[in-house]
């Protein structure tokens, strides 16, 4: 699992690549810390190279959303595959995020 944080058009974009599972979660948790500290910018979680997401990964995404919402910032999920979208749907989180 690798993560890369970039600034694109004043948005913060976090690129996820590989499998976001329980073993990758602690590293990913650290990687998203700057997203939680940011304010006044859109956050994009780019999943175009993400192969798999577990509950641990969902929790990380939810934690980013939880810190962004009170600040009025938007969290977008971009480039999600059908199988990962199904995970969001099965767990009832599909309407919580904005998909790009």
């Amino acid at each position: 699992m690798t993560t890369v944080l970039k600034e694109e058009n004043n948005d913060l974009v976090m690129y996820f690549e590989g499998r976001l599972d329980t073993s990758a979660a602690p590293e990913a948790e650290k990687a998203v810390a700057p997203l939680k500290e940011s304010s006044g910018r859109n956050i994009i979680l780019d999943c175009s190279q993400l192969d798999y997401i577990s509950s641990a990964g969902l929790r990380i995404f939810l934690s980013v959303l939880k810190s962004a919402k009170p600040k009025g910032d938007h969290v977008y999920i971009r480039g999600i595959s059908d199988s990962i979208r199904a995970v969001f749907a099965m767990t009832g989180f599909v309407n919580l995020f904005e998909f790009k």
Partner: protein
């Protein structure tokens, strides 16, 4: 500083003011903090709480006009001024009660401008208290008015004080008519708030007593229904499949979905749960048991109920897509999602029975 001409007495008063200024600033902040705290404790939400110490220029202007009226600077009661602007007329009275509790009121100087008008006259409506901190010190003015009263008086003040031309009677009358209209609107807002509160109470008691067929499905009633934890049992049952944590989210986005099913009362929603609960569980089981997903949103049960309802009513792929389109915005990706859900549902008993 300005072109104000003060006599000796006026100058003396102005000097007293200059000497007092630091303590006035302190008093202003203290009174403001006390008021903010008391309003917050009582849960009274207002549009604004303003506070200021009168500027030297403003005081000089006042002294030039009526300086002889004041023996000492203590007789000027608005050196420190606070203003509470409320949403509703009833809240003006509530703020007044709080003010009486936290400050000492000088009743001789306080005035309820709302009661000064003749029965057939309309104009400046505001409640003014001259107060003192319970610990003593100089007096200060507290004005309490609604947002609409504030708008009226601000515009009236702005227009009336601009220029030296005397305002003709017909324009004054226009201001009075507007004041009357705003008073009417203020009363209507208060009445509306009261009626909505009564309606909410009535809905709550009907939901509580289980008379769900009597309750029309609406934003308010559905929220009440959710608050009564009607979806908890099914959520917990589904969560037990993977010993999952239930993450609280709003279920309100599903209201338009239920309305699109033709549901009109909470009784309809209750029957929808009873008739589809077992199949919703079976569908969730089929999807989740083959995963290790141990976190679910609190809208999971409702989502599966909606999916089952659609499938039982021959909604098929388009019906499922329509659910996702409604809760998450229209998208072609929702069609793919619908197909995946449909594929997994097709092996379930309720789908077999249908065939």
């Amino acid at each position: 500083m300005n072109s104000v001409n003060l006599d000796q007495h006026g100058e003396a008063l102005l000097q007293q003011y200059r000497d007092l200024r630091p303590s006035l600033e302190q008093l202003c902040q203290q009174a403001y903090d006390l008021l903010c705290q008391a309003l917050a404790e009582q849960g009274i939400y207002v549009t604004a709480i303003e506070h200021r110490v009168k500027t030297e220029q403003s005081l000089a202007g006042k002294l030039e006009l009526k300086g002889a009226k004041y023996k000492s600077i203590d007789d000027v009661t608005d050196l420190v001024g606070l203003r509470v602007i409320t949403f509703y007329t009833d809240d003006v009275d509530k703020v007044a009660v709080i003010a009486k509790r936290i400050f000492d009121i000088d009743w001789q100087e306080s005035v309820d401008k709302r009661k000064l008008h003749q029965l057939d006259a309309f104009g400046y409506n505001s409640l003014h208290y001259i107060c003192r901190l319970k610990t003593g010190g100089p007096r200060f003015e507290l004005q309490m008015r609604t947002a609409l009263q504030h708008v009226w008086s601000t515009i009236e003040h702005d227009t009336g004080y601009k220029g030296s031309v005397k305002i003709p009677r017909k324009y004054k009358r226009q201001f009075s008519r507007l004041a009357g209209m705003l008073e009417l609107i203020d009363d209507e807002f208060s009445r509306l708030r009261q009626e909505l509160t009564d309606y909410r109470r009535q809905i709550q008691s009907l939901v509580k007593s289980g008379q769900l067929d009597e309750v029309p499905l609406s934003l308010e009633s559905f929220r009440n229904f959710i608050d009564q934890n009607h979806f908890d049992y099914l959520n917990k049952r589904i969560a037990a499949v993977n010993q999952a944590e239930i993450y609280p989210v709003s279920m309100m986005p599903f209201l338009p979905v239920l309305e699109s099913f033709g549901m009109e009362t909470l009784g309809d929603v209750q029957r929808f749960m009873e008739e589809n609960g077992e199949d919703a569980y079976q569908l969730a089981l089929a999807q989740l048991a083959v995963t290790d997903l141990d976190i679910l949103s609190s809208s999971t049960a409702l989502q599966y109920l909606c999916m089952v309802y659609v499938l039982k009513h021959d909604g098929g792929r388009e019906g499922l897509k329509s659910i996702f389109d409604t809760i998450n915005g229209e998208s072609e990706a929702n069609g793919v999602l619908a197909e995946m859900m449909l594929e997994q549902a097709e092996t379930l008993p309720f789908m077999q029975k249908k065939q």
